[in-house]
């Protein structure tokens, strides 16, 4: 049983256009039986924050190619993308979607 987690999400480089132009989101993820990971977070973002055109943000169970993700200010390619990166630390800082728009 994982406790609710406060997460700071930031969208930039054009990705914020899919979120009504809002760049920064302070959200609290509800508690659930298994620990949160990035895959679940993306699903949660898609259900709760994403305003339009999900196909431009997610593809399969990851982000659309071309969108870059930083976790705690580090490239998420440094982490094992799907299995690892459990969101345990409170106040985790996620920057999703530094999409090089053009």
């Amino acid at each position: 049983m994982a406790a609710p987690i406060a997460v700071h999400l930031e969208f930039g480089g054009g990705a914020e256009l899919l979120f009504n132009g809002v760049k920064e989101h302070h959200v609290t993820l509800p508690s659930q039986s298994e620990p949160w990971d990035m895959k679940q977070l993306l699903v949660w973002i898609q259900r709760n924050l994403l305003k339009e055109r999900p196909e431009l943000f997610v593809q399969g169970d990851s982000v659309r190619p071309g969108i870059l993700v930083l976790i705690n200010d580090a490239d998420w390619e440094l982490m094992n993308q799907n299995a690892c990166a459990c969101l345990t630390a409170a106040g985790l800082d996620c920057s999703v979607g530094l999409k090089p728009a053009h």
Binding site: L18, G66, L68, D73, D75, L78, M79, P100, H102
Partner: protein
Amino acid sequence: MCQVDEEYQEELERADGPSVSKKCVKCKEASAAVVIRAGDTYCRSCFKEYFIHKFRAMLGKNRVIFPGEKVLLAVSGGPSSCSMLSQVQEGLSQKAHKKLRFSPGIVHIDEGGAVGQSAEERQRKVSELQAVFKATGFPFLILPLEQVLDLPSSVVETALSPLEPPPSAYKAAVDRFNQTSSSDYLPPQEREEKSLPDVQKSHTQLLQQLMGSAKTLTAREDLLNTLRQHLLVHTARTEGYSKLMLGDNCTRLAIKLLTSISLGRGAQLAQDTGFSDSRYGNIISVRPMRDYSAKEIAFYNHMFNVPAVVVASLDTKTSEKASIQRLTESFVTKLQTDFPSTVSTIYRTSEKLQTACRSSSSADHSDRCLLCVCTLDTAVEKASAFQATLISEQLSQTKSLGCRNPGQSPGPVKPESAASTGQCCSSAGGEDCGRATSGGGCCSLTTETTDLKSLLCYSCQLTIRDMSSVDHLPLYILSEAQRRQRRAQMRDEISEFLLDDGDEGIYREV
């Protein structure tokens, strides 16, 4: 030794999943923050060093920008061009180890009118950008794209280029610069800011009509690129700049390369994607960001707080099949995720491209495309792919004339329509429209389209064909077209009495 094998496997697995505590490959001390290329992990400070060095190395290696030269930076507000701006700032700063020695200026073209943004939205973006530009201390200009409607026709001419400087010229210029300004270096002068000139509503409407007359998004994007390029070159000329810096990064260029091929711009690839582009003669465009991938730039901007303003473009929020450009982009980025060397492979190919040397007569103005100002690729001998395309186009049209469905025009956003070479010529008069040499009268609309085509390269012909009418094109293009036609006509009339041109005529006949 089965046991050992198993142990190995376990180790490998552990190596496969890199942990957060992975070290930087360069200093091997700090923990890594960014992965560039497959496996190369850099920490923040090493990444910064690497990034800054690359910019200077790019300019140093190519030796195109001379010390003291006035260079115009074209800044769209996107990550790449803003990163370029910050690199120039960094390079000119007093503390820079090897200082850059040119004097920069900034130009931004507000394309809101073409993209369909409201006046308030445009004003907001412009004031955001103004704040960014002011902070640099460089002189800057913010121009609405509407100004392209008032350009003089000299824009599409290739101005006489100064003779190619000998290799020693660069060194001489550096020495000269060091002598004259070692003691009293003048910092870039701060000029009174020019506020955004008021855009007349009628102008915006005209621009929107022009963009609207392009039936496909592919053609619209191509047209916008052309207009933007013309306005940039014109601004550089009138403001006294001799170089134009563009912010194309390596990912963008890889996409551009494949797009250009699909659009029939194979002959112009080298100029479209190379480091420097001298098609305009006295204004040389350079692309100093072409060594950076989009990812490197995005990370650098994020880590070191480079301000960027998101400016919506024509293909923002469109589906991936909306245009050839967009489709190519998603093709390359998708391929890149599974094969991380995709972009660099395409990019290396573009590096090796060179423009074939043409005879000196090709420097003549009339041999340049009216829109993209590249050497015309349509004046080729009979046994060529271009002629074959024309013939097949003619054949398919004569066949379909009888059973043509009048409503069968290409859909508005189908990427195929621009690429397909036959079938979609909407006017019956367009049957022999590709004939590059025909002169003919210039009274009716269809013939005018035909005539315009003879002045364009293959790819620009395709773009024009996707437009419902050419009447909305800016006046400078139309008047220049008429001027060139009159000259061609005149040349035809007096060709019998000309020695040189007569020779050329024989060559063409053979």
